[in-house]
Each structure stands twice: as C-alpha cells, then as structure tokens.
C-alpha cells in the first residue's frame, strides 16, 4: 500500500514537469523542468533497489546533463527566445500516431507474462555491478572508455575549429 502511494507520488513528480517540458513556450523552462523528472526517475530506481543507478541518475542526469542542455541553449542564437512554438502543426496525425503507440504498448503490457524472480536482489548493488563490469563485461567496460574518448575529442575538435 505504501509502495503504491510512493509510486503514484513519484509518477506525478515525473509526469507533471514532463508535460511542461514538451508544451512550454520558454525553452529554458523546458530544460529546467527536466530536473524534477530526472529526480522522480531516481525515486523509481531507489524503489527498484538499484541505488547505484539512482546515484548516477542524480549526478549525471539531474546535474550534468541539465547544465549541458542549458549551456547549449545559451550558445544558440535565438535559442533562449521566449516564444518558441513546440507544438506540431499536424495535430490529427500526431494524435493518431500517439494513440497507436499507446495501444501497442498496452498490448505488450497485457500479453507479456510478467514472472517474478525467486531470487533476492543484493543488499548493495555497487559491488555486484563492479564485479560484473570487470569480469563478464570487461570488453564492454573498456569500449566505454573509447566512447568517452571519442566524445572528448569530438567536443574539442568542434569547439576549437576556428583556430
């Protein structure tokens, strides 16, 4: 019962700012509305006992990604203009697509046999993630560093082009 109440509160915390993100005419307001959405998702991760992922969610998404989006708005000419229309002109077509997507997702949700795992999650998730990263998924772990390297070099090349 308590869990359901927390779920409903967190859903409201995610969905209400989420609507502002996609409807607000002020793009800075949209970007800042992402913060409560990310924090609500953090709450979901905590409910799922994925505390390490929850910590990452706060640090990377609620903190760094939002700041990065705000920087991008500041860098763009006219990007922080107040009157930006976000709504698509083709309302009937968009509504039809959204309804179909909702229908398909409901179908998947109702037809999937959701089975409960008999095992218990570990009390602390970070050691489990660490040993999984460095043994079974070692290659993926090392490739991650390459992805980060590409992003780093790409950012420098794009930002330093004028010299």
């Amino acid at each position: 019962m308590g869990e359901l109440a927390v779920f409903i509160i967190l859903s409201a915390v995610i969905l209400i700012p989420g609507v502002i993100v996609v409807t607000s005419g002020n793009i800075v307001r949209s970007a800042l509305s992402l913060v409560p959405t990310f924090l609500g998702v953090t709450g979901f991760y905590i409910m799922l006992q994925a505390e390490f992922v929850a910590g990452i969610q706060v640090l990377i998404y609620a903190g760094a990604i939002t700041v990065l989006i705000l920087f991008v708005i500041m860098l763009t000419e006219g990007g922080s203009g107040v009157e930006v229309r976000q709504m698509n002109e083709q309302v009937p077509l968009g509504a039809t697509a959204a309804l179909w997507l909702a229908f398909l997702m409901l179908l998947v949700f109702l037809r999937t046999p959701w089975s409960l795992s008999p095992g218990r999650p570990p009390a602390y998730s970070a050691p489990a993630i660490g040993s999984a990263f460095l043994t079974n998924y070692a290659l993926i772990f090392e490739v991650t560093s390459l992805v980060l390297l590409v992003a780093l070099i790409g950012a420098i090349v794009i930002a330093r082009r004028e010299e």
Binding site: V6, S145, L146, L152
Partner: protein, 117 residues
C-alpha cells in the same frame, strides 16, 4: 525502502515550507507592481544590454570536459568497492580504462582546451 523515509519526510517539509512562505508572502505583502521590480537584479547596478546574448563556446567545452571526467570518476566507483577481491586483474583493467581516457586528457592538454586564453 524504509531507509528512505527520512528523505521523504524531509522533502515533504521542504515542499510545505515553500508553499507556506509563498502563501504568507502573498497574503501579508500584497501586490505592488513597479517597473523597477521586474528588472533583472545585478547587485544594485543598472542592467546593461540584453540578458539573451550568445556566450563563447569555451563554456560548452569546459562543461563537456567536466561531464566526461565526471562519468569516468563514476565508473571508478564500482571498481573501487571490489578492487581488493579482483586484485591485479581488476587493477590492470582499470588502468587500461584510465589510460584510454588519459590519451584524451593529453589531447585536450595539447590542443590547449584546458586554457582560458
């Protein structure tokens, strides 16, 4: 889950305090709109120019570098909690990870991306 009850109580109190203060402010202070009140506050100095100006791309570069090294630091955390049990093997893997990003760091250094000229 029950460990997070204090955080929930804390957040509830924060929300209640915000609502209380804003309501009291509106009720007791009333609304007296003046043109000066809607000006952006710049430490008592008159604001000059528009607030919506493009900023140099160096800010973006610094933010991007911060984000990437932030992610690198986060990847070190799950390694650090199991470093003793994994031993040398884990250490070598982590050094490879840091080494690849070290190349990026050296590149950023050589391209003078860390300087603010």
């Amino acid at each position: 889950m029950a460990d997070y009850l204090p955080i929930f109580v804390h957040l509830t109190f924060v929300a209640a305090l915000v609502v209380l203060l804003l309501t009291l402010h509106t009720l007791l202070g009333g609304s007296h709109p003046l043109p000066g009140k809607s000006e952006p506050y710049e430490s008592g100095v008159w604001p000059i120019g528009s607030a919506r100006e493009r900023v140099p791309i160096r800010y973006y570069l610094i933010a991007m570098l911060f984000l990437l090294f932030d992610i690198e630091a986060i990847f070190m955390y799950p390694w650090a909690v199991v470093a003793r049990t994994l031993g040398v093997f884990g250490l070598v893997e982590m050094l490879t990870f840091i080494g690849v990003l070290g190349i990026g760091f050296l590149y950023a250094w050589r391209r003078r991306a860390l300087e603010w000229q």
